[in-house]
Amino acid sequence: MTDVDAEIIEQARRGDPLAWEKIVTRHTRRVYNLCFRFVGRVDQAEDLTQDIFVKVFRNIESFKAESGQFVTWLMSVGRNLLIDYYRQSKDDRMTVSVTSEEDDERSILDSVPASEPSALAEMEREERSVLLRRALDRLAPQLREAVILRDLEELSYEDIERILKVPEGTVKSRINRGRLELARSLQKLRLRTREI
């Protein structure tokens, strides 16, 4: 798959718009989902997807085929932009999560609609997704991105090392701690759900 990308990237570098269009068509789904997993909102995910492709378009010269797959580089550009975005909006997030955490949780759980008997199984699954979103948002940024890249994006440890530009040991330690905190957070949220 790398060679297919490599050829088309070379064409895009030379300014072939059709090649660029192919790159965008190929990767939009993946980039969009990465954004959604980081920010949890579709409108922001749409805007960020556009920003990422603009950045990739401007920096496509700096992609070196020998240093790895294009998709890893793309995810890396995306992740950097998402982290910048997170830093900018961090103050807002902190205020929300500190002042109204309890209310927030309740309202999210309440907002899961009452289910018809036939839809019960699926409803539970919806609920699980809401819980996961909640728990992910509670993680420290470094741990959250490690978990997103490993368990939602299902990337290999090697790819995550390349994207985060940290050594293997650090990647493993972040994934380990991220998962533990996620698991504990989910456990707490589940217990609260039962109480309600």
Binding site: M1, T28, E46, E122, S129, L132, A135, N176
Partner: protein, 223 residues
């Protein structure tokens, strides 16, 4: 060598991934056999990981590729239908989830197109937005995937596609006869969430229909 709970915690998230060496793994196994706290923690970890893996994959909105192209090269789509679909479904990713979703969507798309008598090579951009057709099929594919790839309701897909095509062909004055929740999910403001997305998925009735079996192999050639 005996290990303590806090040491196990340093490894348990990786143990769940199976990336530890045999030595560490066997120490952890031994500990788990005698420590209920850590055994429960492992279950919680496995639950968390499973939850991540079932987190829904969203379909990007139809206009997103268009907007990206406008912001970068300042022009609209110019790929042909077949090229577009080929790029859209290119099995780029090692992740089985991505691969399966795209593959199923491609299969169901070609089934529907064939059933409608549409030759992909002849369809023009002005007539239809492929992404929106693909979107509805992605949903179908998700449903099929959820149901063990077995039960796909052919007539429902056809109905969906037909109403989508009618809708795209214009005449806003004519009332659209598409399923209720589907129209809700499209007309709703942009804050629609993953949850809503999944709810929309469920509007397709995944009962009966054996379209998928038998129809797959020959159709793949369309793409």
């Amino acid at each position: 060598m005996k290990v303590e709970c806090h040491q196990v915690e340093n490894w348990l998230g990786l143990y769940a991934d199976g990336v530890l060496g045999e030595h560490q793994s066997s120490m952890i196994r031994a500990h788990l056999g005698s420590c209920e706290t850590c055994a429960v923690l492992l279950l919680e970890l496995e639950f968390a990981i499973a939850l991540c893996k079932e987190y829904p994959e969203l379909d990007p909105p139809p206009q997103l590729i268009e907007r990206v192209l406008e912001r970068t090269i300042g022009q609209h789509r110019s790929l042909s239908w077949t090229e577009y679909l080929r790029e859209l479904f290119r099995p780029l990713y090692a992740s089985p989830r991505f691969a399966t979703g795209a593959c199923l969507a491609a299969i169901s798309l070609s089934i529907v197109m064939n059933a409608l008598g549409i030759n992909l090579g002849e369809v023009r951009w002005s007539e239809i937005t492929p992404q929106s057709v693909v979107d509805s099929l992605h949903r179908t594919a998700n449903v099929a995937y959820d149901n063990g790839m077995r039960r796909l309701n052919g007539s429902k897909i056809l109905y969906q596609i037909q109403s989508r095509i009618e809708e795209l062909q214009g005449d806003d004055s004519q009332p659209q006869k598409r399923p209720q929740a589907e129209s809700e999910s499209r007309d709703r403001p942009r804050e629609s969430s993953a949850t809503e997305h999944r709810l929309a998925v469920r509007t397709l009735d995944p009962q009966c229909g054996q379209v998928l079996e038998g129809a797959t192999a020959p159709q793949a050639g369309v793409l």
